[in-house]
Amino acid sequence: MRPHDGKADFQDRIRRIEEKAQARRAEAEEAGYVPRSSTGAARRRGIWLAILSVPVLGGLLTFGAVSAPEKFDLSFNIAADADTEDLPEVVKPASATPSGPGSALSALLGGVGAVPLSGHPAQASPKRESQTGRVWASPTVLNDSRAAVAISEIVEDYVAPGPADMLAEARLFDKSPVCWFKSPEPGQKVVSVNLEQALHPAPVTAFNTVEMVEAVTRTVERVTRKNGQETELHLAAGDVRVVDVFVTDSSAPIYLVLQSLAANIIWNIHTAGDATVAHAALVGPGVSGIIVDSDQTKVEAMVISDFVGSHRFGADDTIRDCMIRPWRKPRPEWQAWQKAERGNQLMTNQIESYAKGYAAYDAWFTRVFGTSAAAGTLSAQGASHVLVGPIPDTKLSYRPISGAEAQIVRTDHVILGDADTRRAEAQAQHLELLTRAAGGDIAMLRPAVQNRGDTQ
């Protein structure tokens, strides 16, 4: 009889159990069954990550308390200490190679009038409904019927704007120094388009000198007031957007009033065969522009901030001359309206603010154009395209902004070109001012350490 060997017996049993388990796993895998879910694996990884992060955090905390020489004695060598004398470069802009001479259309220093943009963010990812109304993102077209109309029903060869777009030319024109526009002539039909936001970027960067000085001051302060911890070159926003406007209404010469509460917009106007745009009046927070088919279209523009201070709650409640901030009339389909009806106090205040602002704006609008801001208005929180008139029987030929000639409100700095070129040019202009302000050498924003031996 074989002598009893407990250890060997136990190992034999373990081996048999392992073989059975392997056989079961093989069967399961053949049947397409995955025994461990990926969710479980992710959870386990998360747990381990949390466990391992504890000693890492502890190590970092301790590291701060260890003296500099001791740090270098440690096996892991961390080179940078904020207080060492080996200081990094002061300002490191992105590889800004100034673009060709034609890209900076104008740099008209001195004619400063506007205050900085209101700072509303451009809507990057449009949604269908917002607190203050519908967003008509491409391919839908904002239109009078409020029904869904696709861009393909209006034009036959639509091309969405892209980062490589470039305007062929921009003619600058002066904004209105007074807070009224030319009155519509008898027989002209006033059509108002009022958007809070626009959805597509235009190949234009435009900012005034005040904005550039503010951005450069921000750059300097981040270096000088925070012990030089930050070295980012801040740029004036200069964001400009484009909205297509298709005019098919041929019942009368159209007097277009194109308004935007928060976005700098270049309005890309297309007219159907027998429709005409006699006049275009632009109201916007900063730089506005227009692309029109005909030289017969008269264009005027006003910058909101020339006449109305920056918005604060209640600031626009009073009916007064020159209250030209284009508030939209609240509507029952707005989410904010519906929430206000359900008792949401924040939304109640917002609706009230819009209503009072609109009343003040409407008073100015009615006085200037002889008709209410609500009449014939195409209004939305945001839009890519706007249709003024019926869907055309014959589709229009689409004229993309790329290669077009635009008229743009004169601003100190207007830069044309593709996205990379514009950014590089804007950086170069900001850097030039920064260098001038620092006395010719931006390294002086963070002077080198002086040692006793240096001066003796």
Partner: protein
């Protein structure tokens, strides 16, 4: 299998360490609160019988006997024990404070001056449009700050670095109020902090220009500034002799804008730090000691 067990034990220990430390700290806080209670007993004998019953055996700490006048009879309340995390953070600050090789915001000389815009322009440089002027001053303030480094290097610093600067336009006087902060490496003996329980950096703030009876001429010239820096260094040496350590943690020099042709006197404030028992009584004594040195060194 053994490897896994060790790994799990180590991970568990890592998790447990903060709790162990915090529990130990909690125990220290309990002891401290008992000490405070004992102090109250000493100050209120009529209640001592009742409160004394709350003391617990070995952890009870002897309270210093009350003595002398009413002010001195106040029993020194020991500082509350620091949490392990606060202690760990403080070590870094303390190390930087006593380092001869690391710059630190804990050792700063600040200069507040009023400058007309023309003063920031280079020789022959044309003044820009007023829109740009605040930016110019802000961007050139570090250069202005660096010009004061020579005085620091001649007196109390072995190295000087521009730490931070800022400027504000004052329309009333048509000048820019410029605040300049310089951090420095000391060129004087700091001494050695004698580490002990309950000790930390204590501070005395003094006005070096107070009490001079207007004997100093008004103005803000380099000689006067160097003189004050030298005095601060002198006072710090005397503090070190008495307390074992001293750091000039802040020296603030300021002058208002001249009134017409009349220069305004300079004001110089200084903060001295030493490593000592961090109690209200010790801090008060240190303040009195330093104030006395200022008068002696007038």
């Amino acid at each position: 299998m053994n490897g896994w067990r060790i790994a799990i034990f180590l991970v568990g220990l890592l998790f447990a360490t903060p709790f162990i430390l915090l529990n130990y700290w909690g125990f220290q806080v309990s002891v401290w609160s008992h000490q405070v209670g004992q102090s109250a007993v000493a100050n209120a004998p009529q209640n001592s019988a009742g409160i004394a019953t709350l003391s617990f055996g070995d952890t009870a700490v002897a309270v210093q006997p009350a003595s002398g006048d009413a002010k001195a009879s106040a029993v020194d309340v020991p500082p509350m024990p620091r949490s392990p995390i606060a202690w760990l953070q403080d070590r870094g600050e303390l190390r930087r404070m006593f380092s001869y090789t690391e710059f630190s915001a804990a050792r700063m000389v600040t200069v507040d001056v009023q400058v007309p815009f023309q003063a920031v322009l280079k020789a022959g440089e044309r003044a820009p449009d007023p829109l740009f002027r605040p930016l110019y001053v802000e961007a050139r303030a570090p250069s202005i700050a660096q010009s004061y480094c020579a005085e620091l290097l001649a007196t109390l610093a072995s190295a000087c670095r521009v730490h931070q600067t800022s400027s504000t336009y004052r329309s009333r006087d048509d000048v820019y109020a410029v605040n300049l902060g310089l951090s420095y490496l000391p060129a004087y003996e700091l001494g050695e902090p004698a580490f002990s329980a309950g000790a930390d950096m204590i501070t005395a703030q003094v006005d070096l220009t107070e009490g001079d009876g207007g004997s100093r001429a008004p103005g803000f010239d380099a000689d006067q500034r160097r003189d004050h820096m030298g005095r601060a260094k002198e006072i710090c040496g005397q503090i070190r002799a008495a307390y074992g350590s001293c750091v000039i943690s802040r020296l603030s020099l300021s002058a208002d804008a001249p009134r017409g042709d009349r220069a305004t006197p300079m004001r110089v404030r200084a903060s001295f730090k030493t490593y000592a028992l961090e109690t209200e009584e010790e801090t008060r004594k240190f303040q009195e000691f330093v104030s006395g040195l200022v008068v002696q060194n007038l």
